[in-house]
Amino acid sequence: MIRSAISVASVVAMLVAVPPLWAAGAADSIQIADPSVRAVPPGQDQTGAYLTLHNTGKQGHALVKAASPAARATELHTVVDEGGMSKMRPVAKMDIAPGGTTRLQPGGLHIMLIGLTQPLAEGAHVPITLIFEDGSRKAVHAPVRAIAVPGATMPGH
């Protein structure tokens, strides 16, 4: 009886001890900075979300999916410039190298919110869930704002 209690206890101890090893997932190594969602004109039913992903770990990771209740579909996209044409394309993943930083920004990688479920007021926050290659997740609240475009500032004015 006592022995079986000990073996049950040891099994329980193992179960408890093991999860932390598994829980060291991609999401734990990724730091998120500067999230934002581009404010859009009235009637516009899609927009882009931008943020910076920093990988503090020693292994490469990848953002493979994003989800948001603010849109009917949330996708990973990029913009490529080919032969003078700007082309927007879905991407399967966004790699984040060990110790590296991947920036989602206008003119490049971004999260597309397609079919906005409600108008996005400037200053509101859009919840976005980031899903990494191992299924681990990270929640982000991205403020809606007019996206600052590089080159739009006018020194001296």
């Binding site: 044409m85 996206i147 739009a152």
Partner: protein
């Protein structure tokens, strides 16, 4: 014998040098020596539809007109370009601003009605007018302004995207296409281009 050898060498060297000089001169004559005015498309007048009626380029003589081809559901490239144009317009004095118009020409009339374009363009700046037309009309205008675009189906909830050039054409007060600004041209450079052509 030895003297002959030297003479032949001199002649050969002379021929080589002469040939090289002629070649260099030929190259010079042939190249389009640092052309500061790259060849522009023909441009020219057109009339397209806005929510407030037809807009004819010919009716905008005396003004500097910026023309941008895009589409309203363009998620990234068009808003970036329009934000730069907006920033440029905001720095102009009211008297100058009154002589500048921006036409945002949608190449995607299937999704962009004039009413939608009015909302879209006006959101950026009241001086930006959204216009569109029948696909063939837009195609003809785009061709004359060197704008290219292609409807591309993608595996995405957006259905299709429009690959397109992101040029801002500058039409002078006389209606001539005078400049084309590449994608990412800064607000300061846009202002400079407007000022170059504004009548003084």
């Amino acid at each position: 014998m030895r003297r002959l050898k030297i003479l032949v060498s001199l002649i050969v060297a002379g021929l080589l040098l002469g040939g090289l000089a002629a070649y260099v001169a030929g190259q010079r004559a042939g190249e389009p020596v640092a052309d500061s005015t790259p060849r522009l498309p023909s441009g020219g007048d057109f009339t397209l539809d806005s929510a407030d009626g037809p807009v004819a380029l010919a009716s905008l003589r005396g003004q500097v007109v910026l023309i941008y081809f895009g589409y309203a559901s363009c998620p990234d490239v068009c808003p970036t370009s329009l934000a730069l144009i907006k920033a440029a317009l905001q720095t102009l004095a009211p008297a100058d601003l009154a002589r500048v118009r921006v036409l945002f020409i949608s190449v995607d009339p299937a999704r962009d009605t004039p009413a939608k374009l009015k909302q879209y363009a006006g959101y950026f700046d009241p001086n930006i007018v959204g216009v569109t037309g029948k696909p063939a009309e837009i195609g003809a205008v785009a061709l004359r302004y060197g704008a290219t675009y292609r409807f591309t189906p993608v595996q995405s909830a957006v259905g299709y995207v429009v690959d397109h050039t992101s040029l801002t054409s500058v039409v002078g007060p006389d209606g001539r296409l005078v400049e084309q600004l590449p994608h990412g041209t800064t607000a300061a450079e846009i202002v400079a281009a407007i000022r170059r052509w504004l009548p003084h």
